[in-house]
Amino acid sequence: MKRSFPIFAVLTALLLGYAFYEAMFVAPTDQMQGDVYRIIYYHVPSAWTMFIFFLTNFVASVVYLVRRNPKADAVAAAAAEIGVVFCTVVLVTGPIWARPVWGIWWTWDTRLTSTLVLWLIYVSYLMLRRFSSGGQAPVLAAALAVFGALDMPLVYFSIWFFRTQHPQPVVGDGGSIDPRMWHVWLLNWAAFLCFGLLVFWKRYQLEILQQEVNETQALQTLHDPRSSQ
């Protein structure tokens, strides 16, 4: 078990390197957009990875509310943080790509705006975790995660209806995608997912250790109340 982490880390590094090589040099250049389209290999895999981690956070939060298992809370905390990181990558790479292709940095269309709101919701989730103390944090955060999951469809529909009269940016869909692009796309997704899991693994272990520290400290205070003063 102890050795599997470095092995996984090395494999992830190799996979990331190979995926980078494929995305930059092997994948064919887009007919319409030229080389700038290659950011798609970072933008879209990050978005998919983000969804997986936010989904993990939601499932773990529900499990925590039902079972009160501290491990589920550790999973939720780690998944939310990594989800926010990938969401940030999506929100940063999006405008970098949009500027040369659409001619603007940002547009308030449905997908962009709901991703931004999703980011806001999860940042508020992390703030709540940070500002609530000890034993309450897991319950409050889990409740907030459930609220977030309920809120997202409403966010999507409200913005969708708000923006239907505006022109939708066309993001390569509809047109045919070279099968080689698909291959590179999935490869990059696998690489980023592995990287996410790698970080998640450590973050989860850290959270479990933190829980143990808190527990030990609480027990010590119970045995010897003066030691905490």
């Binding site: 509310l65 709101v117 806001l120 919701i121 940042v123 508020s124 703030m127 709540l128 500002f131 609530s132 103390s133 034993g135 309450q136 319950v139 409050l140 409740a143 907030l144 459930v146 609220f147 977030g148 309920l150 809120d151 409403l154 966010v155 529909f157 409200s158 913005i159 209806f161 708000f162």
Partner: protein, 225 residues
């Protein structure tokens, strides 16, 4: 052992009486909303036609900000003398307490809106082109949307450090769909350009979903140790 509705009524009556005597929430909300109106008018300097377009947004942003000042006091008031701990160990159903607090806040914010709306109309020279009576369902559903989540998140934020700041940080991101619906419904009514039906349905869905969610999760949050 009294019935849940009895507990609800008693708590609501207590909060209303407290408010009637102190007028803390309503005074701070009114003055705050007034300041927002004045500051907005300096920042935008709107003409009549333009103001009809932006007034929906201004009104609701002012009410949202003002409501936070009242919502913050909802549970903070109960921290003094350990009243909240007493609630926690009492056999009274948690949801009666939650509904009483939510109804109380709803009444405060509705009173605020009733007092502030005429002022808005005067300051911004508003005249609705669409059917003005539809503002009533929009206001009722919209206020409940802010207040039901606001009361819940106030119960969450009262358990954290720096609780006064925490409430808007939690409430604003989650209120975005409701705010979009309220603002667009109001703007459509003022300009008479589009129907409000879709937005009212969206608000009603938001209210239903989050009222149920609050009732399901409130006891968990109240008892969180």
């Amino acid at each position: 052992m009294s019935r849940p509705s009895g507990i609800l009524r008693a708590t609501l009556a207590k909060d209303l009486r407290l408010e009637w005597r102190s007028k803390d929430a309503i005074n701070s909300m009114l003055f705050f909303a007034l300041l927002v109106v004045v500051i907005f008018s300096f920042s935008f300097d709107p003409l009549a036609e333009e103001s009809r377009r932006i007034a929906g947004g201004l009104i609701w942003v002012a009410f949202l900000f003002a409501a936070v000042t009242a919502l913050n006091q909802t549970w903070a008031r109960e921290l003094r003398n350990q009243v909240l701990d007493a609630y926690r160990i009492s056999p009274a159903p948690a949801n009666s307490l939650f509904l009483a607090k939510a109804f109380g806040n709803f009444i405060f914010v509705i009173v605020l809106e009733a007092l502030m709306t005429p002022l808005f109309i005067i300051f911004y020279n508003l005249r609705a082109v669409g059917p003005a009576w539809e503002l009533i369902p929009v206001a009722v559903l919209g206020t409940w949307a802010l207040v039901v989540n606001g009361t819940f998140f106030a119960a969450v934020s009262v358990r954290t450090r720096s609780r006064e700041i925490m409430l808007p940080l939690l409430l604003f991101p989650f209120s975005i769909p409701a705010l979009v619906a309220m603002v667009n419904a109001t703007t459509n009514l003022l300009t008479g350009e589009d129907s409000t039906k879709y937005w009212i349905v969206l608000l009603a869905t938001y209210d239903l979903v989050f009222t149920i969610a609050c009732l399901v999760l409130f006891e968990t949050v109240l008892q969180a140790e």
